[in-house]
C-alpha cells in the first residue's frame, strides 16, 4: 500500500530547536516501535524547519497539505506558528497533531475536527499548582512569565485556582519576550517578599531564571513554584540552582509505569540522551497515529472514521494513560514534582484526569 505521509513542522534551528529535535525523536521512536500496528503501511516523513517564524507557517503548512498531500501534520512548538498553521489546516483533509504548543485558542475558539493535541493546553499544567500552593499554606504569591500568550495563559490558570481558594496574587510580572535580564525583577520580588513565586519559563530562559534566582540568594528564602517546563530539559544546565523547585506537569522522569520505563530506555539508547516532556509529547503523537491506523486496519482514506478513531483512542503514554476531550485535548493526570538530585521526582498527583475547559470550542 501507499506509505502514510507524516509531515513534521517543527523548529530545527534557532531558540526552540531543542524542543523540535526532541519532539521529532519521540514521534519516530513511537512509529518504529509500533510498526506492527501499521498494517503493513510504511511511514514517509516530510520534515520542515519552521524556524519558529509564524509568518512562514501558512506557507509551510500549505506545502505539506497541498503539495505533499500529507495525511498527518505534526507541529509546531511555537504558539504563533500554531495559529499560522491552523489557518491553513483547519477543516482540511490532513490531520494536524500539535505536539507542544499550548495556545488555548487552538483547541478553544479555533478548534476543528481535524486538529488534535497530544501535549497540553496552557491551562492544564498551571491550574493544579494553585491548589498545591494553598495546601502549602502560601497566601501571597508573585507570578511571573514572559509576556506572550502561553505565559499569560499559564499565569491566568494558576491565578484562577489560587484565588478561588482564597490566595492573593500580590504582583504579576510580565517580562518582554525573549528578554532574559531577570535581575531587576528578582530584586523587586525580594522587596515584595511574598510567600512564594509562581513562574512560567521554558528552555534557555528557564535556565537563566533559575540561575539568577539562586545567585541572588532567594532560593532558600522564597519557594519557587512553576509550570513544569521550568525544569524540563534544563536541569543539567541549571545544576544545583534548581534543587528543591516544585513544579506541576503532565509528566515526570521517574513515573513508575511500564510504558515510561520502556520509553525512557529506548529513547536514551536511540538518541544518546535522556528523554524529556517534549519527547514524550512527540512520542504520544506517534502512538496516536499508530493506534488509529491499527483500529482502521491501515486504511485511513475515510477521514471521518479516522477522526472518530483518534478521538476515541486511549493512549498508553509514558505519562500514564490519557484520553481525548471533545475539543481533542488530552484528558490527563497532572503531577506535582520536586527537583531532587538533578531529577524531577513525583511527589503526588496534583490533579487527576484533568480536562481543559476548552472555552469557546463549539465541537
Amino acid at each position: 500500500a501507499e506509505p502514510v505521509k507524516v509531515g513534521i513542522m517543527l523548529p530545527f534551528s534557532g531558540v526552540y530547536a531543542a524542543l523540535g529535535d526532541a519532539g521529532r525523536n519521540g514521534l519516530k521512536l513511537a512509529l518504529t516501535q509500533n510498526a506492527a500496528q501499521l498494517h503493513g503501511r510504511d511511514i514517509e516523513y516530510l520534515e520542515l524547519d519552521t524556524e519558529a517564524r509564524p509568518e512562514r507557517a501558512p506557507e509551510l503548512a500549505s506545502s505539506l497539505l497541498d503539495k505533499d498531500k500529507a495525511d498527518f501534520i505534526i507541529g509546531p512548538v511555537h504558539s504563533g506558528v500554531a495559529m499560522g498553521m491552523s489557518k491553513v489546516l483547519r477543516n482540511k483533509d490532513a490531520i494536524m497533531i500539535i505536539p507542544n504548543a499550548g495556545a488555548a485558542a487552538a483547541t478553544g475558539p479555533l478548534c476543528a475536527p481535524n486538529v488534535f493535541r497530544t501535549s497540553f493546553s496552557s491551562w492544564q499544567p498551571s491550574w493544579p499548582m494553585g491548589k498545591v500552593a494553598l495546601d502549602a499554606g502560601y497566601k501571597k504569591v508573585v507570578t511571573m512569565s514572559w509576556n506572550y500568550g502561553m505565559g499569560k495563559e499559564s499565569l491566568e490558570a494558576f491565578e484562577e485556582s489560587f484565588t478561588a481558594g482564597g490566595g492573593e496574587i500580590v504582583k504579576q510580572i510580565l517580562v518582554p519576550f525573549p528578554k532574559t535580564e531577570f535581575q531587576p525583577y528578582i530584586t523587586d520580588i525580594a522587596a515584595t517578599a511574598p510567600d512564594a513565586v509562581f513562574v512560567f519559563f521554558a528552555g534557555g530562559g528557564a535556565v537563566k531564571f533559575v540561575k539568577d534566582y539562586n545567585a541572588l540568594g532567594l532560593s532558600d528564602k522564597i519557594p519557587l513554584l512553576g509550570a513544569g517546563f521550568l525544569t524540563e530539559g534544563t536541569l543539567e544546565a541549571q545544576g544545583d540552582a534548581a534543587e528543591g523547585i516544585l513544579t506541576t506537569l503532565h509528566y515526570a522522569d521517574n513515573l513508575d509505569n511500564a510504558a515510561n520505563h520502556k520509553f525512557r530506555q529506548d529513547y536514551a539508547s536511540s538518541f544518546g540522551k535522556p528523554a524529556d516532556i517534549y519527547a514524550v509529547q512527540g512520542y504520544d503523537a506517534g502512538l496516536l497515529i499508530a493506534q488509529a491506523l491499527n483500529t482502521l486496519g491501515g486504511d485511513i482514506s475515510n477521514r471521518t472514521a479516522l477522526i472518530a478513531a483518534m478521538q476515541a483512542s486511549t493512549i498508553d503514554s509514558p505519562r500514564g494513560k490519557f484520553t481525548f476531550s471533545k475539543a481533542h485535548n488530552p484528558v490527563q493526570d497532572i503531577y506535582l514534582r520536586k527537583v531532587v538530585n538533578g531529577e524531577n521526582q513525583v511527589l503526588s498527583i496534583a490533579a487527576a484526569a484533568l480536562e481543559d475547559p476548552a472555552r469557546g470550542c463549539k465541537l
Binding site: 530545527f12 534551528s13 520534515e47 520542515l48 524547519d49 517564524r53 509564524p54 509568518e55 507557517a57 501558512p58 506557507e59 500549505s62 506545502s63 497539505l65 497541498d66 503539495k67 504558539s79 504563533g80 500554531a82 495559529m83 499560522g84 489557518k87 491553513v88 495556545a103 485558542a105 479555533l110 509576556n147 506572550y148 500568550g149 499569560k152 518582554p176 519576550f177
Partner: protein, 319 residues
C-alpha cells in the same frame, strides 16, 4: 526603458514566464501560492531596493511598513463583512503614506548608520506594540476572516480565494511596481534623487531641499512596502508581529543586496534566488543553514554587484 541588455533580457524572460507559470504548474495550490508569496516579497524588496540603492537611505525598519500593511487591514476592515479590495488598497496606501511621512520626518534627520538604527528602533517599538497587545492577538497573531472582493462596477476581476487569481493579482502588482519605479527614475524627480544620493551637500547648495526629496521617496517606498504586506496578509488571511521584526527587514535587505543594489529588477532576482535556495536546502537537509550561509558568502565574494551585476557581465561578455 532599460538600462542595459541584462535588464531587458531578464524582464522579457521573467514576466512572460511568470504569466505561464500557473499553467505549467497545473495550478497546484502550493506552488502557485509559493510563487505568489515570492512575487509579494519581490514588491517589498523592490521598494526597499529603491530606498537603499537609489536614494542612499539604508533602513533596517522597512518591515515596519510591511507589517503595518497587514495590520492596517485588520484594523480597518469589519470582521465578518466582505469589503472591496481596491478601496482598502487605497486606504492602506493612504494611511501608510501618512505614517511614512511622520516616520520619515523623524528618521531623515539622521543619516547613515544612525538612520539604520533609528529606523530599526521605530520598527522594534511597533513590533513590541503589536506583540504585547491583547486586541491584536499579541505574539500569536490574528486571523483575517474575510477575503476582499475585487469588483469594479460590478465586474469581478479577481477571485482572491482562488490561488491562481491571487497569483495574477500579485504578478500584475509587481509589474506595475517595476514600471512605476522605472518611470520614477527616468523622471526629472529621479534625476534629483540620483543627485541627492550621490552628493547631498552639493545638491543643497544647488538650491534643492534635500529633505523634501528624500521624504517623498521614503513615502513612496514605504507605501509600496505596506502594499506588499497587505497582499501578504490577504494571501493566507493571517498576520503576526513577526512581519514587523528586524529579521524581516534584514532578510529583505539581504535579498536586495544579493540581487544587486539599486537595480530594481535585481530585487526580483534576489528574492527569487534567495527563496529558491531556501526552499531547496530546506527540503534537502534540516541543517539547511550551512549550505545556505556558505552559498551566500560565496556569492558575495564572487559577485561584485550582486546577481544583477553578474548577469550584466555575462550578457556583456556574450556581446
Amino acid at each position: 526603458m532599460f538600462n542595459n541588455r541584462a535588464e531587458k533580457l531578464f524582464v522579457w524572460l521573467f514576466f512572460p514566464l511568470a504569466l505561464l507559470m500557473p499553467l505549467l504548474l497545473d495550478q497546484n495550490t502550493f506552488y502557485v501560492n509559493k510563487l505568489a508569496t515570492i512575487l509579494i516579497l519581490s514588491i517589498f524588496v523592490m521598494s526597499l531596493d529603491y530606498l537603499v540603492g537609489r536614494c542612499g537611505l539604508v533602513t533596517l525598519g522597512h518591515a515596519l511598513f510591511y507589517g503595518m500593511g497587514g495590520y492596517l487591514f485588520v484594523m480597518l476592515a469589519p470582521e465578518y463583512e466582505a469589503v472591496n479590495f481596491w478601496l482598502y488598497t487605497f486606504y492602506v496606501l493612504a494611511i501608510a503614506s501618512v505614517i511614512a511621512l511622520v516616520v520619515g520626518v523623524i528618521v531623515l534627520r539622521t543619516s547613515g548608520i544612525y538612520m539604520i538604527m533609528i529606523t530599526l528602533a521605530l520598527a522594534q517599538m511597533c513590533f513590541y506594540f503589536f506583540s504585547d497587545s491583547t486586541e491584536f492577538g499579541g505574539n500569536d497573531g490574528l486571523f483575517i476572516f474575510v477575503k476582499p472582493e475585487t469588483d469594479v462596477f460590478g465586474l469581478s476581476l479577481f477571485d482572491l480565494d482562488n490561488p491562481t487569481h491571487f497569483y495574477y493579482l500579485c504578478l500584475l502588482s509587481l509589474f506595475n511596481c517595476l514600471l512605476f519605479f522605472k518611470l520614477l527614475m527616468r523622471s526629472k524627480f529621479g534625476r534629483i534623487m540620483d543627485a541627492v544620493q550621490e552628493n547631498p551637500e552639493r545638491t543643497t547648495a544647488l538650491g534643492y531641499n534635500v529633505l523634501h526629496f528624500r521624504l517623498a521617496s521614503y513615502v513612496i517606498a514605504s507605501a509600496l512596502g505596506a502594499y506588499a504586506g497587505y497582499l501578504f496578509a490577504l494571501q493566507y488571511g493571517f498576520v503576526n508581529p513577526s512581519m514587523l521584526s528586524w529579521q524581516t527587514s534584514g532578510t529583505a535587505l539581504v535579498m536586495s543586496i544579493l540581487g544587486g543594489l539599486g537595480t530594481l529588477y535585481g530585487a526580483i532576482l534576489g528574492t527569487l534566488v534567495y527563496e529558491g535556495l531556501h526552499y531547496g536546502f530546506e527540503h534537502l537537509t534540516e541543517n539547511w543553514l550551512l549550505p545556505m550561509g556558505s552559498l551566500i558568502i560565496l556569492m558575495v565574494l564572487a559577485f561584485r554587484h550582486g546577481l544583477a551585476g553578474y548577469l550584466e557581465s555575462l550578457v556583456e561578455k556574450r556581446k
